[in-house]
Amino acid sequence: MSTLTEAPPPLAPAEPDKKPPRKRGRFTPYWLLLPGLLWLVVFFALPMIYQASTSVQTGSLEDGYKVTWHFATYWNALSEYWPQFLRSVFYAAGATVLCLLLGYPLAYLIAFRAGRWRNLIMILVIAPFFTSFLIRTLAWKTILADNGPVVHVLNTLHVLDLTDWLGWTAGDRVLATPLAVVCGLTYNFLPFMILPLYTSLERIDGRLHEAAGDLYAKPWTTFRKVTFPLSMPGVVSGTLLTFIPAAGDYVNAELLGSTDTRMIGNVIQTQFLRILDYPTAAALSFILMAAILLMVTVYIRRAGTEDLV
């Protein structure tokens, strides 16, 4: 793969018409890149700059906003909404851990144990993508309903007593509690965990498992010393693909939660679309972006140096 990128094939055959294609070839990459990059610069990078400028503006919707370098907006936003920030991080982290615990066996199953069922299971993992995720999230309202079977079973097993004590649920219900929101987040982002895990597991040579077995490693030891370390790239990209969107999500908190489970995404959405306080909303989404970038960098560093070796 590296030889391929390091030594790109010459655009034209070397012998017959050497000069004209080379000349054209020099600018070809730029022509190919131009339209797409222009799109990303204008509609992705430029908006970020606009948003940065909005976050330090003051004024009102009627009189218009002006850049006044009013950094206090950041401080005010942070001091008012830190519970929602904290909650988002906790919920997203909880959902990510659950996704890893739930997704790993399924990815492992598809990669090593599924045999001729592999393609079918793959389809069943991907196909829900094509049913609107909002419809599927609403279905959780039915599944977790107060008089529904899930709540009934959890209640009979006295699981709800425990989760009540932990503050994950309230009373005899699951809907409108943190547990419901985390359940929805886990569900919604699970495929984003399974697919990278599967890709990295699939690359592992099955003979390594045999070799571990030949060296008297028990299955669990084989997993701990061989399979899991080799699947680290999948674990890292899977956790990132789950954590980042989960931290910014507001759909699950809105549909399955209550006012006590509002995440930072809900606050940004309300500030932007209902209260129309653009500077605060812009500041909030910048803080969210910065916090995520920081956490992701630290995480990649740690995962990249300690666990990978």
Binding site: P9, L32, W39, L40, F44, L106, Q269, F272, Y278, A282
Partner: protein, 266 residues
């Protein structure tokens, strides 16, 4: 304890299948509730079996209109993102040029950004430009966030392609256009198709970015969102079920076709 041993041996399979069940449970519920006859405005509790909604899927005001808007946006967004993304990935794989790593990170960033941040920043841009929010602002946004996914999908395919195939074509006196159309493009096609399919699904299903930049235009996800507050008609579940079935059927047929082709080759 034969049962415990059996459980130990199949632990991974059992856990994996349970996860699969967790993934598919909402789809089952959606399908079952598409045959419900609800009493009130909401379709969250099972009342009575009925096929009314299936007989009249467009019986709800504005739902099929929003569906058609979503399909149109997804169609054009797929074309736009696939075209731009394929061009970028060919440039990235086939050429060395300055700022290559900068381009790579610009493409990576939209995938690593929470949607709400992108949505809000795009809205600030549109507000500052005084753009009319609606169909075209949604389309612009969708092309923007689908682009990166297309690049990733196509890049993976083009990178694994043997450059000697193209050299061989040229040795056989194929012109650049002929080489591209008859050798390069067919080999890259699965990657391009995967990127296009992903774009379509992402665009069709997007809610957060659309919600910020839609103005008064209502796409299908936005209709579902609104109905969660006003009352969900059964027809929403009908559309959800139909979409799931169509997706499964499409993938199954494409798999059958490739299987048959591979057999013919062998």
């Amino acid at each position: 304890m034969p049962f415990v041993n059996w459980l130990k041996r199949h632990l991974v399979v059992i856990a994996g299948l349970l996860t699969l069940g967790y993934l598919l449970l909402p789809n089952v519920v959606v399908t079952v509730f598409s045959f419900n006859k609800p009493k009130g405005r909401f379709n969250y509790e099972w009342q009575q079996f009925s096929t009314d909604a299936w007989k009249d899927p467009c019986g709800v005001a504005d739902m099929c209109g929003s569906l058609s808007i979503s399909l149109q946006i997804a169609f054009w967004a797929t074309i736009g993102a696939t075209l731009l993304g394929t061009m970028i990935s060919f440039a990235l794989v086939r050429y060395r040029f300055r700022a290559r790593s900068a381009v790579n990170s610009l493409i990576f960033l939209p995938m690593a950004m929470p949607e709400v941040v992108m949505a809000a920043s795009l809205l600030t841009l549109f507000l500052n430009m005084g753009a009319q929010l609606g169909f075209y602002t949604i389309l612009i946004a969708h092309i923007m966030f689908c682009l990166s996914f297309v690049v990733v999908a196509v890049k993976a395919r083009v990178m694994s392609m043997d450059p000697r195939l193209e050299e061989a074509a040229r040795d056989l006196y194929a012109g650049p256009a002929q080489t591209f159309l008859r050798v390069t493009l067919p080999i890259a096609a699965p990657g391009i198709a995967a990127g296009a399919l992903l774009s379509f699904a992402l665009s069709f299903d997007d809610f957060i970015i659309t919600n910020f930049n839609a103005g008064s235009t209502v796409t299908f996800p936005m209709f579902v969102w609104g109905s969660a507050q006003r009352g969900t008609p059964v027809q929403i579940n009908v559309i959800g079920t139909a979409m799931f079935l169509v997706a499964v059927l499409l993938v199954l047929t494409s798999m059958l076709i490739t299987n048959r082709r591979n057999k013919q080759k062998a």
